[in-house]
Symmetry: C2
Subunit: 188 residues, 2 copies
DNA sequence: GGCCGTTGTGTACGTTCGTTCCTATGAGTT
DNA sequence: AACTCATAGGAACGAACGTACACAACGGCC
């Protein structure tokens, strides 16, 4: 009469060395999927299949976790973007690489697009995240300045931001041809 | 023994014909000030100095209230923008009006800027708000097409969106001169 | 002046949240 | 093998949330 007692089903898994890293990744997944507002401790714990307490153990607060997640995201995208710019031999190639970055890397995966916008808004209200956005903006501009003068780089940067926003939210985003034409008008 | 009884301090004010309108305005204020996430029934009620129940009486749900608020905001900004475009006699004047719109109307009041970005993100997750953003985007483009061909209008629209985002979040937004130069490069 | 239906108000309910805390476990060290 | 301490796990707390609802108050109508 005690075999299948109402034991609360103890969790078996133990000692998970990469867990902290996985939590950061899962956080980005949840934010991309449902937005920052829906990225609660519980939602992330469920998505990562870890108990609730594990989150507050690894990260002192939800803001800390967001900061870690966005920092990772910015590092990933900024590194990829700078590599593209570094690989370009001249200005024309840089513009084409920019088109590729926009249509291939970003617009291809709605994920990075959405994460960017979510980061922008979260940072607008949260001082702890503002540094991450600032870092992204300055790295992005520095990459552009490999082939563009500072004034043009700044204008292109603004246009790119607008294209990202448009693409993330509009029903009919601009295609590669239109983007290329706009970039050349601005920086060609 | 009953004069100053612990009566819960009945509210005196009654019959407030313009209340529904005021609630919409107050909602925009709260969103601009603290973001959509902080715009709760209670926060708005406090800001408008009305009891909590008044909100659910006038608006069936929080989403309904947001939709009403954003619709009003879009109507205001879109009307002002279209008037500027309509008043411009030619393409050059239209571009200058656009600069004026950006630096004067929008960047002058951080408020409209922030509201725009908040709307974008809220709409990305909430189907009921998506129609409002679509309306804004199409009206904005139609206004631009008074003086620009459709292709250019679209590019300018994207650039403007990027400038808005940059201005709302960057520490050193572009000034009127730079904005004018960028617009002329793109559409001049 | 008395009735009625719209409008206004206060409270309560059930849910979800971030965070805290106590206990259990096992890898690494001695 | 024994000990230790960083990690893991689950329950609990108080606070805040959206919403529902019962009752109060008053303008408009007879």
């Amino acid at each position: 009469m005690s075999a299948d007692a109402p034991v609360p089903a103890r969790r078996a898994r133990r000692y998970d060395p990469g867990r902290r890293d996985r939590l950061v990744d899962t956080t980005l997944d949840v934010i991309a999927e449902n937005g920052v507002a829906a990225a609660t401790h519980r939602a992330i714990a469920r998505a990562a299949d870890v108990p609730l307490g594990s989150l507050t153990y690894h990260f002192g607060s939800l803001t800390d976790l967001f900061a870690a997640a966005f920092t990772r995201h910015v590092d990933t995208v900024a590194a990829r973007f700078d590599e593209r710019m570094r690989a370009a031999p001249d200005r024309a190639a840089a513009l084409e690489a920019l088109v590729e970055h926009l249509t291939g890397d970003l617009l291809g995966s709605q994920r990075d697009l959405v994460l960017a916008v979510e980061l922008y808004v979260a940072a607008a209200r949260n001082p702890a995240l503002r540094a991450v956005t600032q870092d992204w903006m300055s790295r992005s501009r520095r990459s552009l300045e490999r082939h563009l003068d500072p004034v043009t780089a700044r204008e292109v940067d603004a246009l790119v931001e607008g294209l990202v926003l448009h693409s993330a939210l509009s029903t009919d985003p601009m295609d590669a041809t239109r983007i290329r034409s706009a970039l050349h008008r601005l920086a060609g």
